[in-house]
């Protein structure tokens, strides 16, 4: 809850004004039955037309003031709840962006988005309801009881006897249904997964002719969901008939007692009517309270999910020291680096040592899961080192402020991701002020100027969400171009050629050398052809260094490398 305080605080005025005016409306409404009783007792029974009109006018005035108060309250509620949600969303988005790779991965990107939008929406609604109803409903409840007591203290005992019964019913029903609601949510998730699978896997499903099987699977999920939902709804549906029944019986008892009291001259007809009116408004208010309980149960779950994100500890604050690049030191130096993703996991990298000098090229090769990408992630300081030390141009990366670290490194990540916007906007990610000439140069080097040039709007062509309107190879080339536009001294290409044919790859590498001389290159690949010309090649095997040297040196000394080379170009020797 304490995270929410700072978002609620700016709206303390609304939290004060809203309920106060709502309360005013409720108080005014309580007067209505009393005044109506006077109309009947003093006006109708005594045929006093003036009195009736006068009282009626007064009541209309009170009703109008009540409506005005309610409007003020609704306005306060809309400002406070929407404002609260807006601030919370903004901060949560910032927080999510500040999370480290491992933190984002342990949450999962899709749940973070859901929490940011759906869950905050739930909280927003809860805030509005607090302002609108939390004061009003209990007040009407208690107020009606008090008013009834004022009409006849002895008779109101009946009301007080029913209250605990009603509270008990509401409590029981929600105690039982709350966990069932969670179940429904889970069943809904399962159904959603099944539909998703059927869309993403449509080719496989049809290839295996499994449509009947999937239909059956969907039918089951669908039925499970329906059954769970029906079950919980049947339970919640009890509240209304049961509470109404109990109040109705209370009315019968009130009538019965009224008869006796009127007989003894202790009560009158108008008061009976007023009394019954109060019981009715109590019932209505009580049902509102019951609905509030549901809403808050739901909001409580959302609050927990939001707090989990906001409460995640970020890596400590960093120094603002300016770190100069020492050009005589290696651009990248690993000294005995070991690393594991989570404390329970086995080592992803073990005792890695190498030094890459300014302007040179390092190739990293190895099989699936050998730790190639981990090396890149560590240079970007996305995960904490387990052991050892990494230096960039003579400074320990732990001591370099993140901003300066990013200035030095440009990356083309393994998964080529584009974002909605124009091609120009995508390319300018790393350099907001890059000019078209820079962009064209990068596109040319990345072998992407051809297809971009063919687009009717060239650089202004729209990129769909996730870059859906580009092929894998096109995305990969734009991905490289984006990294080139940034033009940092160290360029990391993480498996960036996998969707490119050899010819394109070759042209790209040649252009890179010519157009961007002096750039220190780190190329990660599974293909020997991508890295064989590098100044140094680091061979990784299951997280360990299997070799380090030039292509020729490794061919002479490193069995893992030899095997890799042979497996890929077996026939080359016989050519």
């Amino acid at each position: 809850m304490h995270y929410m305080k700072q978002y609620l605080k700016p709206y303390w005025k609304q939290f004060l004004i809203g309920p106060v005016f709502k309360l005013l409306e409720a108080i005014l409404e309580l007067f209505m039955p009393i005044m109506m009783a006077r109309i009947i007792n003093e006006g109708v029974l005594q045929q006093d037309t003036d009195f009736i009109l006068q009282q009626g006018g007064l009541m209309a005035l009170i009703a109008a003031i009540g409506m005005g108060s309610a409007w003020i309250c609704q306005y306060s509620a809309s400002v406070a709840s929407q404002g609260f949600g807006t601030r919370l969303r903004s901060d949560m988005f910032k927080k999510i962006n500040a999370l480290s790779f491992s933190q984002i991965e342990s949450f999962g990107a899709s749940t973070l988005t859901t929490r940011l939008t759906n869950d905050i929406n739930q909280l927003q609604q809860a805030v509005a309801m607090v302002i609108r109803l939390v004061i009003r409903a209990p007040f009407v409840c208690i107020g009606s009881a008090v008013a009834a007591m004022m009409i006849n203290a002895r008779m109101s005992i009946i009301i007080f006897l029913t209250l605990p019964v009603l509270a008990g019913i509401v409590y029981f029903v929600f105690r039982v249904s709350a966990p069932l609601y969670t179940r429904v949510q889970q069943k809904l998730d399962a159904l959603s997964r099944t539909v998703g699978e059927n869309i993403s896997g449509v080719r496989v499903i049809r290839a295996f002719a499994k449509n009947p099987h999937e239909k059956e699977r969907f039918r089951q999920r669908n039925e499970e969901l329906t059954r769970a939902a029906v079950r919980v709804n049947l339970i919640s549906a009890l509240v209304n008939p049961l509470t109404t029944f109990i109040m109705n019986i209370a009315i019968v008892v009130v009538l019965y007692c009224s008869g006796w009291m009127i007989q003894r001259g202790q009560f009158d007809q108008g008061s009976v009517l007023a009394f019954i009116n109060y019981i009715s408004s109590m019932l209505t208010a009580l049902l509102v309270v019951a609905n509030l309980v549901v809403l808050f149960t739901k909001a409580g779950a959302s609050l927990k999910r939001v707090n989990e994100v906001l409460g995640t500890e970020l890596p400590g604050e960093e120094s603002e020291v300016k770190c100069e690049r020492q050009m005589n030191e290696p651009a990248v130096e690993f000294s005995h680096v070991s690393f594991r993703y989570t404390p329970e996991a086995s080592l992803a990298l073990e005792d890695i040592t190498f030094a890459l000098r300014q302007g040179e090229t390092l190739g990293i090769i190895g099989g699936t899961g050998s730790g190639k990408t981990s090396v890149a992630n560590l240079i970007l300081r996305q995960y904490p080192l387990t052991e050892g030390r990494i230096e960039l141009w003579g400074t320990d990366i732990e001591a370099i402020p993140r901003e300066q670290l990013l200035e030095r490194i440009s990356t083309a990540p393994q998964r080529a991701e584009l974002f909605s916007g124009s091609i120009r906007e995508n390319l300018q990610w790393g350099a907001h002020d890059a000019e078209d000439a820079d962009l064209q140069k990068a596109l040319k080097a990345a072998q992407a100027s051809d297809f971009v040039g063919e687009l009717p709007q060239k650089l202004d062509s729209q990129v769909d969400r996730g870059g859906r309107n580009f092929s894998g190879g096109q995305k990969q080339r734009l991905n490289i171009a984006r990294a080139l536009v940034k033009n940092a001294p160290l360029l990391i290409l993480d498996d960036s050629f996998s969707a490119l044919d050899y010819l394109t790859e070759h042209n790209l590498k040649t252009a890179l050398k010519e157009q961007y001389p002096g750039t220190t290159l780190l190329i990660i690949s599974q293909r020997v052809s991508s890295i064989r010309g590098a100044d140094q090649i680091l061979v990784l095997d299951d997280g360990k260094m299997a070799g380090l040297g030039t292509h020729e040196e490794l061919m002479a000394s490193c069995p893992v490398y030899q095997e890799t080379v042979y497996s890929q170009t077996r026939e080359e020797g016989t050519r």
Binding site: L53, A63, G259, I262, G265
Partner: protein, 575 residues
């Protein structure tokens, strides 16, 4: 025209529940009857207690007993009504989901390839959910509302025509109010929904692309963009929330006016008795309530209607042609022929034109070419994910359009570039194509795909659950699973679409060996960049921009020194 047919489309789903609807209607009548009779009885009872000493107890007792009986029936029928409505609403929607899913299964691949997955899933989840809400509210409020309105109207008329007219007049103000409020707020609501979608989309994109975002230090820029949408959302959200929340207090005011009018009018004009006025007041409130509640749930019903529209839209997409009468292939040898095939995804952009290919049983056909050349399209046509525009494809001399799609597809084992696993255990995922596979067969398949090793290292071995995203498995491991899935089948033809691109070369080498064994005597189509697969092929198709530019064996193509030669040689070039 489409809008009008909504209800007509909806009827088939509702029709089979007509018995339930009649029951709900009867329950509504019973409940409504009590709600109408009770105030009358209460008024009667009050009239029997005129003053001290004049209370007629026997009459009162009789009335009270009737009341208790009525209230008991009221509770029972009200619950029954809710129960039936819940069941009906959920069952109707369950059926619609099922129908929609079955329709989805019959849609051509073109639909899947051109529609966003999230949008389709949303129809099954969010829209269906909205429909349940609307239906549930609609059914109960509508039936009950009609009963109450008709009943109270009759009763009020029997008491006093003049006062009844006043009540109708004042209450009809509610329509004006509701109309104005809905009309103004609908505009804001639509805007808000759009902005929520925009915000959700943007957040999803940035959070999902966290690796790129962090690599480029794009967080601040993203925050700026997010805050801009967020601010717009605040303005729209606050307005729509405020406008929407005006209905309630305003109609309450109108009802208070009605209440006052009855008291004043009843006392002055009609000269009603105290008991008469009190029951009249209760009727007036009751008469107004259904209108309130219907305007209250109107937004929900409108939302349900547009949700239903979206589900029906999906069901209206034309399905693939029926192939129930198609042939079934038996003892396929695997002779495949493409004869004068034309095909394009977009009629304005011709892709494949006059394509010819003859593959004899047991041959290996490799398809190479730059990205976007149309390699995967050949597979799409072969599997009949898309049908040819002109020409024909023959298997053992039979036009594949005469064959049932399932029968055709099960003649192929297919491993695709994008791996697909579903929500289930590793075992279930491997046995996907062959549900009756024995444990031994599954293990053998996994072993031959070199997947057995890592599977046994998983926390629960073959029983480990994998989610749709395959979170716990690496890309390479998921690919091994799909290969194992294909290994388990024993079809005459094989399709590999860059199947080995994210597996390291050593593993690939082993898999290639296994595949080679599997391919013996089977016609195989392979899209690959790697030399080992390309060189061993009987025919190599070299594709560029949708056309086959060269065709022949490796030796023939190398001799030609054309496109293939350049593509092939580029990988050996030294920087």
């Amino acid at each position: 025209m489409k809008k009008k047919t909504s209800l007509a489309q909806f009827m088939p789903f509702v029709r089979r529940y007509y018995v339930l609807f009649i029951c709900i209607m009867l329950c509504a009548c019973a409940v409504g009857a009590v709600d109408i009779a009770a105030p009358y009885l209460i008024g009667k009872a009050i009239d029997e207690m005129a003053s001290a000493g004049a209370v007629k107890f026997p009459a009162i007792f009789r009335i009270l007993w009737i009341l208790v009986l009525c209230y008991t029936g009221h509770a029972i029928f009200k619950y029954l009504m809710q129960m039936l409505s819940v069941r009906t609403a959920y069952r109707v929607v369950e059926q619609m989901r099922q129908k929609a899913f079955e329709h989805l299964q019959r849609l051509p691949l073109r639909y899947y390839d051109t529609t966003a997955q999230g949008d389709i899933v949303s129809r099954f989840i969010n829209d269906a959910d909205t429909m349940v809400d609307g239906l549930l509210q609609g059914i109960t409020q509508l039936f009950y509302g009609i009963v109450i309105i008709v009943g109270t109207l009759l009763f009020m008329l029997s008491q006093s025509v003049a006062v009844t007219l006043i009540v109708i007049l004042v209450t009809s103000l509610n329509f004006v109010v509701a109309n104005v409020v809905t009309r103004t707020s609908a505009k804001y609501f639509a805007g808000t929904q759009m902005l929520v979608g925009e915000l959700n989309g943007y957040a999803q994109e940035i959070i999902g692309g966290y690796k790129t975002v962090k690599a480029f230090g794009y967080e601040a820029e993203a925050q700026k963009h997010f805050d801009a949408i967020n601010a717009k959302l605040y303005r729209a959200g606050q307005k729509s929330q405020f406008a929407g929340s005006l209905t309630n207090p305003t109609t309450r005011f109108v009802n208070n006016l009605a209440y006052i009018c009855v008291g004043v009018g009843g006392g002055i004009l009609a000269g009603l008795s105290a008991g008469g006025i009190s029951s009249f007041i209760i009727y007036a409130t009751q008469f107004a309530r259904p209108f309130n509640e219907i305007t209250g749930v109107w937004a929900q019903i409108m939302a349900a209607a547009s949700a239903a529209r979206r589900i029906f839209d999906l069901m209206e997409v034309p399905p693939e042609t029926s192939d129930e009468v198609g042939r079934i292939l038996r003892d396929v040898r695997g002779n495949v022929e493409f004869r004068n095939v034309d095909f394009s995804y977009d009629p304005n952009r011709p892709l494949i034109q006059n394509f010819n290919l003859q593959a004899k049983a047991g041959q290996k056909i490799a398809i190479v070419g730059p990205t976007g050349a149309g390699k995967s399209t050949i597979i799409n046509l072969l599997m009949r994910y898309y049908d040819v525009d002109a020409g024909a494809i023959y298997i053992d001399g039979v036009d594949i359009r005469e064959v049932r799609r399932d029968a055709l597809r099960t003649q192929f084992a297919m491993v695709l570039q994008e791996t697909w696993s579903f929500d289930g255990t590793v075992r279930e995922n491997i046995a996907y194509g062959k549900e009756d596979a024995t444990e031994e067969e599954i293990r053998q398949a996994a072993k031959r795909a070199y997947a057995d090793g890592f599977i046994r290292r998983l926390s629960h071995g073959y029983d480990t659950l994998i989610q749709e995203s395959g979170g716990i498995l690496s890309g390479g491991q998921r690919q091994l699973l799909t290969i194992a899935r294909a290994m388990l089948l024993d079809p005459p033809m094989l399709i590999l679409d860059e199947a080995t691109s994210s597996i390291d070369t050593l593993t690939e080498q082993n898999i290639t060996k296994a595949f080679n064994k599997l391919m013996e005597g089977r016609t195989s189509f392979i899209i690959a960049h790697r030399l080992s697969t390309i060189r061993g092929a009987d025919t190599i198709l070299v594709m560029d921009k949708g056309a086959v530019v060269e065709q022949g064996s490796h030796g023939e193509l190398m001799e030609k020194q054309g496109f293939y030669y350049r593509l092939y040689m580029s990988q050996f070039e030294q920087e």
